[in-house]
């Protein structure tokens, strides 16, 4: 990569010194300039201190993943330099805080061909401006000058962000910007670089938002009217979003004392007729599994979004991992199924949250949507969704004129029993976590346990036909088919592009529905390849193991990383070439 239509800027520094806000501003400026944007952030689990990183990828084309590293590296401190210096390649740009004022006294040797700009941002902010915390704005100014980022756009964003705090604050930020611009003009005229942000004509109605916010937006669009939550990184932003916006539409949001209470409230709300949801991460989902089983037993439509993080235990709260697939698909005691979806990108977070509600309502069962920390935090540009075009599905309600006697768990042809909610006349009934008869009364006999177990499994068996549950990208003559789930799908899409550009034939299968796995579509896909490669950010190869149980008769090659970071497309492209 590295050509000017696809630029990736990485800013590293200490958590709490404005890395995140400067990244946000830069991302917004790029989006304002009509570019596609995809950001990637990592930060420590602590509020202050530790290494934080914000990467902004901007392109004239649709961006599929975090990409293969950066072209421009900005380091606010020595730790950021140390963390990234070995990733610098010829042609990259390095901007560092120095030679005075910061904690990098002397720049170590960098690879040949790296274009280096010093920028004493700490000194400029502290000494020249007198406000150290404006360091990030000094940096923004320098970046706008170096890469032609429209400074008007930056000022507009600063005005929008800080206008409420008063003109003094806005002016201070403008001044800081100018300091950065001037420093570059005065000191670096002689050093050119090939990167130039070229504004694009944007004729779509574009929004830029994070995966977590997008889940909230999807919930709102799907008609969610009840959300219970317990704070947990990296999922809490979903709660922030719905707490702010869902209530405007009449919804109710409640913060409970723990995740058990959240899922309990969600089951109760669903029983009362609400479209109910909770958002959590792995530790929370672990606590919820008992009531997840209850939800399946009573056939409650509900949605759980698990924004996965590194585990086990407290693990890596702010880092990337896709290791809750087994928990989502198999977690809980007893013998029961559930529907599991996984989102690839931010737009998917909107779409799949809507599908999650529709599936839950149609099949009267819990649906788990898996996203992950990097997807939850990252922001992306995508076309604004239209709430008027959303297809909203509601649970099948009992109709006394056509359904005969009301039986909550009536055996029907499609295994879906018309239901009733409190308030409906003549339908008062019991729901219980005990095995039950059609009426809902406890019954532990072999007939009902057998029939109901089958009912619970069979009713969702064809969930893959309910929506566009997978996407096959088949290249004729390819022997390898790449299959993965979640946000790794973006890295695979980009890797597939790279491989094909390099003349390697490869196909790929992208399931949105991971349980029950879309076997009809997958079997069709499998006819076209000899083996499958399954890259996953977990040790066990959780999807690969699930696919193994399907006895597909093809070689399954696992490819696993588990360092708390997502795949780079080039790693997968290399693997594709290796195994073809």
């Amino acid at each position: 990569m590295g050509h000017k239509s696809d630029l990736c800027i990485r800013i590293g520094g200490e958590g709490g010194e404005g890395i995140i806000s400067s990244g946000d501003i830069l991302a917004q400026a790029a989006a304002k300039a009509g570019l596609e944007v995809l950001t990637f952030k990592t930060f420590p689990a602590e509020i202050r201190g530790g290494y934080a990183m914000y990467q902004i990828r901007m392109s004239s084309e649709k961006i599929l993943s975090e990409g293969d590293g950066f072209q421009v590296l900005v380091v606010f401190n020595k730790e950021a330099l140390d963390n990234n210096i070995n990733k610098l390649k010829a042609g990259n740009v390095l901007i560092w805080d120095g030679p005075e004022g910061g904690d990098i006294n002397e720049l170590p040797e960098v690879p040949e061909g790296v274009i280096v700009y010093n920028l004493p941002m700490s000194k400029l902010a502290k000494v020249d401006l007198g406000v150290y915390r404006s360091k990030n704005m000094v940096c923004m100014g320098a970046l706008s000058e170096l890469f032609n980022i429209p400074v008007d756009r930056l000022k507009e964003i600063i005005n929008n962000r800080f206008g409420k705090k008063g003109q003094d604050i806005v002016d201070l930020n403008y001044k800081a910007l100018q300091l950065g611009i001037d420093y570059v003009k005065e000191n670096h005229q002689g050093i050119s670089n090939p990167y130039n942000v070229v504004a694009q004509e944007q004729n779509k109605d574009v929004i830029i938002m994070s995966g977590n916010d997008a889940v909230g937006l999807g919930a709102l669009m799907a008609g969610c009217n009840f959300f219970a939550c317990y704070p947990i990184t990296p999922a809490t932003e979903i709660a922030y979003w719905v707490a702010k916006h869902l209530v405007k539409k009449g919804g109710t949001v409640v913060q409970t004392e723990d995740e058990i209470s959240s899922i309990g409230a969600v089951v109760g709300a669903s029983f009362a007729g609400a479209k109910a949801m909770t958002g959590t991460s792995g530790p929370g989902l672990s606590l919820m599994t008992e009531i997840l089983g209850l939800g399946v037993m009573v056939e409650a439509p509900l949605v759980i979004c698990d924004v996965q993080r590194g585990g086990p235990s407290t693990g890596l709260p702010t880092k990337h991992e896709q290791s809750d697939l087994f928990l989502a698909c198999y977690g809980g005691h007893g013998d029961f199924p559930r529907i599991v979806l996984s989102a690839e990108n931010v737009a998917d977070c909107v779409d799949l949250t809507i599908h999650a509600f529709n599936l839950a309502e149609h099949y009267q069962t819990p649906v788990i949507l898996l996203t992950d920390g990097s997807l939850g935090f990252r922001t992306e540009t995508f076309e604004a969704p239209d709430i008027n075009k959303v297809k909203v599905v509601n649970r099948k309600m009992y109709n006394p004129d056509t359904d005969g006697e009301f039986l909550r768990y009536k055996f029907t042809e499609d295994n879906i029993s018309p239901t009733a909610i409190p308030g409906m006349e003549g339908c008062a009934h019991m729901q219980t976590g005990l095995e039950h008869n059609e009426k809902g009364s406890p019954n532990y006999g072999p007939v009902f346990h057998t029939k109901n177990t089958e009912k619970r499994f069979n009713k969702i068996a064809n969930a893959e036909d309910f929506f566009e549950s997978s996407h096959s990208d088949i290249e004729e003559g390819a022997t390898v088919g790449v299959v993965t789930w979640g946000s790794t799908q973006g890295s695979v899409r980009e890797a597939v592009q790279q491989a094909r550009e390099a003349g390697v034939k490869v196909s790929a299968f992208y399931p949105k529905l991971v349980w029950p796995f879309p076997m009809k579509a997958f079997n069709e896909f499998l006819k076209t390849v000899d083996k499958i490669l399954v890259p996953e950010v977990n040790y066990q190869g959780q999807l690969a193991e699930i696919i193994k149980t399907k006895e597909i008769g093809k070689e399954i090659i696992k490819y696993n990383i588990y360092g708390g970071l997502p795949f780079e497309p080039q790693e997968i492209a290399k693997k594709i070439k290796e195994v073809q």
């Binding site: 929004i207 009449g250 109760g268 219980t432």
Partner: protein, 286 residues
């Protein structure tokens, strides 16, 4: 009379026969509760009875209303979801001392302090009955149970003091042996806006041979006529008072002023602004 409302208590009884042992204190509550429903002219179609797991948690099966029998210890969490999703419903949660104060004890304080709009009735028999006689959170220290063959080593909790401390706004105690008083207390609790708690001393004749109807009859006394139900410290003092060897039934405490959870969120909703989808998207338009 509209469908779902009955003139007599026994008409609220479902066709499911109770699963309790003969002589169980829970029968007393069942009768008192049904009579209270008739007294209040409650419509079963608008009523949701929620429970956890245990002998007493079978309670909702025996009433004609909507009911939900969940998992152990979580009745309150489910009940809160029901009420919040549809505030028009009459929501009553049921459970035992183990369900409510052992496995579910983490939820009680939060329903109290939220002042969640519902009634919670605990049938306290100081033993786990359904699992055949283990020590519960209200078992008397030293009592021999199947898990404590040499005597219970734990100190018991005091449910009344517990809920009073955490902010329940209606707190009463009833005795299964006095269904007439209980019937009135249930009506008062259900009519109260906010979180109402009734501790029902409901002896288990099968697994708790120490705390019997007869022993309780000796101990029970109405709260004195001059008991001030608006005095929380006084109510807590009465709840903790063991010096007299007496147990008091009646209304310990009632607070009609503190807003309920639903009151508070209804107020807040007014400040959230009108729903405008495009305005929300505007936040994210670059």
């Amino acid at each position: 009379m509209a469908t779902g409302i009955y003139a007599k208590g026994k008409e609220y009884k479902s066709e499911v026969p109770p699963t309790w042992c003969a002589g169980c204190g829970d029968y007393g509550l069942l009768n008192a509760f049904m009579n209270s429903l008739a007294d209040q002219q409650i419509n079963v179609n608008n009523t949701a009875l929620i429970s956890g797991i245990g002998c007493s948690s079978r309670f909702p099966f025996f009433i004609k209303a909507y009911g939900f029998h969940g998992v152990h210890g979580r009745a309150l969490t489910i009940a809160s979801g029901v009420k919040l999703a549809n505030p028009e419903l009459e929501v009553v949660a049921f459970g035992g001392d183990g369900d409510g104060f052992a496995i579910g004890g983490g939820h009680v304080p939060h329903m109290c302090r939220k002042n969640m709009d519902m009634t919670y009735i605990v049938m306290d028999n100081s033993i786990y009955g359904l699992t055949k006689g283990q020590m519960s959170p209200t078992t008397t220290p030293g009592m021999k149970t199947s898990t404590t063959p040499y005597g219970a080593p734990d100190n018991p909790i005091n449910p009344l003091a517990f809920v009073l401390t955490y902010g329940a706004t209606f707190v009463a105690q009833a005795f299964s042996g006095n269904p007439k008083q209980m019937r009135g207390l249930i009506t008062q609790a259900m009519k109260h806006r906010g979180f109402s708690y009734i501790n029902v001393i409901s002896p288990c004749p099968t697994f708790n041979k120490q705390d019997t109807f007869d022993s309780y009859k000796e101990m029970f006394e109405d709260l004195p006529e001059d008991h001030d139900t608006s005095d929380k410290p006084g109510a807590i003092a009465k709840a903790l008072d063991r010096t007299s060897g007496k147990l008091y039934s009646g209304v310990y405490y009632e607070d009609k002023e503190t807003p309920t959870f639903l009151d508070r969120i209804a107020e807040q909703r007014k400040t959230a602004g009108a729903f405008d989808f495009q305005k929300i998207l505007d936040i994210y338009r670059p």
